[in-house]
């Protein structure tokens, strides 16, 4: 076991130990300060009676649809903005502006347009992640060394081939970074939106915990949300990103 891992495990053992001690001493009432054991129990029952699993599946379905649409749209718009000067000078500024807007600020607009519905949920996920993906693709395309394009042209590549064989591959590291940032924005805005919508997602389970004064459930759902976020970010995106950077010789 590496030294780093030992330190990490020790830290969490001590943290949970202190937490358990404080809970055991009953410094605060349980609805304010739950014990780790209580949280663990809720987690187990939550997975046993499938409420958590259903919550995860529903949230995942929403994010996959919304994020999928975001990827397609974002890539397309990003590539166009990156290559076409007029679009960059017009639409590009709008994208930069929207990027500065915290994604949850789309919620009132989405609710007014689509009501309290699945569509509103999707809209928030899409709007939350779209601009990061556009900017990632746009930056990537703008930073493609012109010599790659010249080299490809001298070897006879033209039109769409330049995009598929040179521009997209050359911009891939930046595109992947955009995807990664887009995903974390999508995940955050979905959770925020679910707090307000009765739709059985994880955010809704979190809100239910509050309404029932069940602090154990609040913490348990928070842990689930954190774990999903970390797993996707670390195990999927970071891996892809590292692999791409390594292959491109950027690492």
């Amino acid at each position: 076991m590496s030294k780093r891992l030992i330190k990490l495990v020790l830290f969490y053992i001590i943290l949970i130990g202190v937490w358990q001690c404080l809970a055991f001493l009953k410094v605060w009432p349980e609805y304010i300060f739950p014990s780790p054991l209580g949280v663990l129990k809720t987690l187990v029952t939550g997975f046993e009676d499938k409420t958590f699993i259903i919550g995860i599946l529903i949230s995942m379905k929403r994010i996959l649809i919304g994020y999928g649409i975001s990827i397609v749209l974002g890539l397309l718009i990003g590539l166009l903005i990156g290559r076409i000067k007029t679009l960059n000078e017009t639409l590009g500024t709008l994208v930069l502006g929207f990027q500065a807007l915290p994604s949850i600020c789309w919620l009132p607009l989405a609710l007014l347009w689509f009501g309290l519905s699945e569509t509103a949920m999707q809209a928030i996920v899409i709007l939350g992640s779209l601009f990061s993906i556009i900017i990632g693709a746009d930056t990537g395309v703008k930073n493609v060394p012109p010599i790659y394009i010249r080299a490809a042209r001298t070897m006879g590549a033209r039109g769409l081939q330049l995009y598929t064989k040179v521009i997209i591959p050359a911009a891939l590291p930046s595109i992947i970074s955009g995807f990664k940032q887009g995903w974390s924005f999508a995940w955050r805005s979905l959770m925020a939106a679910e707090l307000l919508y009765v739709g059985l997602g994880l955010g809704h389970l979190l809100m239910m915990g509050r309404e029932l004064n069940d602090m154990n459930q609040v913490i348990a759902v928070m842990i689930v949300i954190i774990v999903i976020g970390v797993v996707v970010d670390r195990l999927i995106f970071a891996k892809i990103e590292n692999k791409v950077r390594e292959r491109w010789g950027l690492a």
Partner: protein
């Protein structure tokens, strides 16, 4: 090399008799001439010949490159015969109609828009390059040599004038004219093999043929097989340029355009690659246009060295380098040519990076 050319034109039996019977229209007697410049005498006489006329030059010793007696190759449009009789060497030359030029640059100007108005990168440039020639474009930065290469490649369009390739007007890039760039033009997301196959894939060449071609050319440029599946950042600078040359050659273009391909390499790697490029060229009979700012490199590699001046970019002078191949960097004739061209450049260019270049050459 000179021996090989002799063999090529060695006449025997009947042919020898025929050649001896030729009554030349013009005769130059170089017996007793202490050559410095019989070259110029012969060259001037050729230009005054009619197409049908035959020139005979007589020397009292074997014409060797060292003594600067020209060897007129078929490549330049002059066939020749050499026979030896009683210790006298007779050279027969007939002017033939020149083949269609491989590349023709006609009155080409190129201007770029900059923040302080128009910048004339090239002004009224004319240049004719024949099939199989190795032409070096030499000059300081900002003289438009790379601009001209890009125009020939079709990557840019001239502001004025025309460029012709094999009788066709150049309007864009073509797979008959492939460019080898300075370091950094290989695709990092592809392996060495995939890079070499890139152009063939664009041309929709069948997978098996593509692979075979790529392997052939990687072998020709001397890249170790264990690097065939490496990624580009795992290669050294010299290996990268080998791959870049292989990638261009794999398209089998008749013209190879090289934009300072060895400029970023260390001295030893550069010398090796310069030698290998000469071999590749003499085996493949490609037309090579080679841009460089290194006088020595130009004198070493070129049949012709076109010297560019700047402000505005234009052709200043032209040298024919008539030294047998393969040439080595320590060949005294290469050194001499380097010195002449350097002097020529020094006259015009002051205070540019040429000072360093000159000092570098003087030290060697």
């Amino acid at each position: 090399m000179i021996k090989r050319e002799y063999e090529q034109f060695q006449f025997q039996g009947e042919e020898l008799k025929k050649l001896a019977e030729i009554k030349p229209h013009k005769l130059i007697d170089l017996r007793g001439a202490v050559c410095p410049h019989p070259l110029n005498v012969i060259r001037d006489t050729i230009s005054s010949l009619n197409d049908k006329e035959i020139l005979q030059a007589i020397c009292d010793h074997e014409p060797t490159a060292k003594e600067n007696v020209p060897r007129f190759s078929a490549r330049r449009g002059y066939p020749f015969g050499i026979i030896e009789q009683n210790g006298l060497w007779q050279i027969f030359i007939q002017k033939i109609e020149k083949a269609q030029p491989r590349l023709q640059v006609v009155n080409v100007s190129k201007a770029f828009k900059t923040s302080d108005g128009n910048f004339t990168a090239l002004n009224e440039v004319n240049l004719t390059i024949h099939q199989g020639e190795f032409v070096c474009l030499l000059g300081p930065s900002g003289c438009g040599k790379t601009t001209l290469l890009n125009l020939i490649a079709g990557l840019d369009k001239p502001t004025k004038g025309e460029i012709w390739s094999n009788g066709n007007r150049v309007t864009g890039p073509g797979s008959d004219r492939v460019v080898v760039f300075q370091e950094g033009a290989l695709f990092p997301w592809l392996t060495v093999m995939q890079n070499v196959e890139f152009g063939l894939k664009i041309l929709k060449v069948d997978g098996k043929i593509r692979k075979a071609l790529a392997l052939d050319y990687l072998k020709l440029v001397g890249l170790d097989e264990k690097f065939h599946n490496s990624f580009i950042h795992q290669l050294s600078g010299g290996m990268k340029q080998r791959v870049a040359i292989a990638r261009a050659l794999a398209m089998e273009p008749s013209v190879l355009l090289m934009d300072e391909p060895f400029a970023a390499l260390d001295v030893y790697t550069r010398e090796t690659l310069q030698e290998e490029l000469q071999n590749i060229w003499s085996e493949s009979h490609k037309t090579i246009v080679f841009v460089t700012h290194n006088v020595q490199e130009a004198a070493l590699l070129g049949d012709r060295v076109i010297v560019f001046g700047k402000n505005p970019g234009r052709i200043k002078s032209e040298y024919e380098i008539d030294i047998e191949r393969p040439r080595k960097i320590d060949n005294p004739e290469v050194f001499l040519n380097t010195k002449w061209i350097t002097n020529d450049l020094r006259e015009e260019i002051e205070g540019s990076e040429y000072e360093d270049e000159v000092r570098g050459v003087a030290q060697r």
